[in-house]
């Protein structure tokens, strides 16, 4: 199965949470849903962690100017 996107996983997690909040699930099924939700939650958290790490990496390297420009001596003349 193809890897879920973060948004799909989040939507699924939301669906599971709402399903559990109704409280009419059999324990057995609730437990399975719970376990699935926990897995989704971890997955989403991992996604976010990874995204944050990449973003941080990008912005850290982005602190520098994207290109440099050599200015002439009469620049301020």
């Amino acid at each position: 199965m193809a890897k879920k996107t973060f948004e799909e996983a989040l939507a699924q997690l939301q669906g599971i949470v709402e399903e559990l909040e109704k409280g009419d699930l059999a324990l057995e099924k609730a437990i399975r849903k719970f376990e699935e939700g926990m897995k989704l939650s971890r997955y989403c958290s991992d996604c976010l962690d990874e995204a944050e790490a990449r973003l941080t990496r990008l912005t850290e390297s982005g602190e520098e100017a994207p290109f440099s420009f050599e200015t002439g001596p009469q620049e301020e003349a």
Binding site: F6, L10, L13, Q14, I16, V17, L20, E21, L27, E28, A30, I31, F34, G37, M38, S41, C44, S45, L48, A51, E52, L55, T59, G62, A65, P66, F69, T71, G72, Q74, E75, E76, A77
Partner: protein
């Protein structure tokens, strides 16, 4: 009878008028032009001016008439007893059955033969055309040489020389001395004319003689002189006798002057008069053309002023060239200055300062964007994380094991590990697993109490 009738038929019977008419035409054609001499008798002058008389001699007489027109030309008076020679024709007057002599010309007897000869010659030469105006030669306006054919003695030549000298001093004159009367005079005159014509040195001849009787002038009434004048190709002026004298020479001449001095007057213009005329003409010429000549002078002056010497032209051209060069240089320098200004201005606009400023602005904008981007990225990440955390929290709260903390437990049948919610299917001795908040119990069923659902 027959002969009588024949006689009757051949007999010509005239009426008086017929007869008179025949007589008239007979007489008038037989005597149209006759000279008659006789003595005048029964002379009378009619109120009309016509003269009536008879001409008679010892044996006969004839009626004669001189009409008013012819009578007026007579230079003498007619009177009875006067012997005359007359020129006339016979005329018949039918009402009276008379005939008469109609005279054209009358002269007294005695001078008559000479006059007759004159008239005859005049008629003959006139009929030949010697007097014809078509043959008259024009006189030179100013003759360069005049031949005077006249007697070298007497007042005539003297008077003529005086007149000629007065009118035109220093005129070239030739005097051809001739006898002007007596035997051989006509020959001398004719010879002189021929000689002058042959030599051709003169362009005018004056033939002159003083006054005298008809006999004195005889030489000028000769055919010889008349023909000499006619054949002479040089124009001839005659001045013979007095004003009333007419000679054959006068008729043939190209111009007849009344007297020798009149001939001299006519021959040459008056020098003083000529000079005066010339002077006035000259003055008027000057006056007329002076203005235009002055204009021409002015034109020439103007043209001369405009006509420059080539070297001066060269100098002027060079000066103009210099001027133009300077103007060119000035113009060029102006353009150069302008271009320099333009260049400086363009250089200034080429300077990187505005670019650098722009760059700074762009970089600032970029930084803002970058920050914005980061902010949005992080905030979105954060939002997602919050959402996720919320969900996670809710999930954890919903977890079936959360209530285990409050003393609940989950029982599962072993080994299937199916969660037990009722006693059905169970028997004592079966193994079950009880999950607590912390830890698991594995137990054996000792007793089963079936019942309804609790709670």
């Amino acid at each position: 009878m027959g002969t009588e009738l024949q006689e009757k038929e051949t007999r010509k019977i005239y009426t008086v008028s017929e007869l008179t008419s025949e007589i008239r035409s007979c007489l008038e054609s037989a005597y149209p032009f006759i000279w008659v001499t006789g003595e005048i008798s029964n002379f009378s002058k009619a109120a009309s001016g016509h003269l009536y008389f008879s001409l008679k001699d010892a044996e006969a007489q004839i009626a004669a008439i001189l009409f008013k027109g012819q009578a007026r030309q007579l230079r003498f008076q007619l009177q009875s007893g006067l012997r005359i020679v007359g020129l006339g024709r016979i005329g018949v007057y039918p009402p009276r059955g008379s005939y008469q002599l109609i005279l054209e010309y009358v002269e007294p007897m005695g001078t008559g033969s000479l006059q007759l000869a004159f008239e005859q010659l005049k008629l003959r030469l006139g009929a030949e055309g010697l007097f014809d105006p078509a043959h008259k030669r024009p006189l030179p306006f100013l003759p360069h040489r005049i031949s005077l054919v006249t007697s070298p003695h007497g007042a005539v030549i003297h008077d003529m020389l005086k007149v000629l000298g007065r009118r035109y001093p220093n005129l070239h004159l030739e005097i051809a001395p001739v006898r002007v009367q007596g035997n051989g005079a006509a020959e001398e005159i004719a010879r002189a004319l021929h000689r002058i014509a042959m030599q051709g040195k003169s362009d005018l001849i004056i033939l002159a003689r003083g006054g005298g009787s008809l006999e004195d002038l005889a030489a000028f009434n000769t055919e010889e002189v008349a023909r000499a004048i006619f054949s002479c190709h040089i124009p001839v002026i005659t001045g013979i006798g007095h004003e009333t004298d007419y000679t054959i020479a006068d008729f043939v001449a190209d111009l007849r002057a009344s007297t020798p001095t009149a001939a001299a007057e006519t021959a040459v213009p008056d020098k003083a008069e000529l000079k005066a005329t010339l002077q006035s003409v000259t003055i008027s010429l000057h006056r007329t053309f002076g203005g235009s000549i002055q204009n021409l002078h002015r034109d020439i002056r103007n043209l001369r002023e405009r006509l420059l010497h080539p070297s001066r032209h060269l100098v002027l051209s060079r000066m103009r060239l210099d001027e133009t060069q300077e103007a060119l240089l000035r113009r060029f320098q102006r353009i150069r200055t302008w271009k320099q200004h333009q260049l400086a201005w363009m250089l200034r606009s080429l300077s990187p300062a505005p670019l650098v400023q722009k760059l700074h602005r762009e970089r600032k904008a970029h930084m803002a964007c970058h920050k914005n981007l980061c902010f949005h990225a992080f905030s979105r990440l954060h939002g997602q994380r919050m959402l996720l955390n919320g969900l996670h929290h809710r999930l954890q709260n919903l977890g079936p094991f959360a209530i285990l903390g409050r003393g609940y437990a989950v029982a599962r049948k072993l080994p299937e590990k199916t969660i037990l919610s009722h006693t059905g299917g169970l028997s004592p001795g079966d193994a079950v697993e009880i999950q607590l908040a912390a830890g698991f119990l594995r137990c054996r069923i000792e007793e089963i109490e079936h019942g309804k659902k609790n709670l």
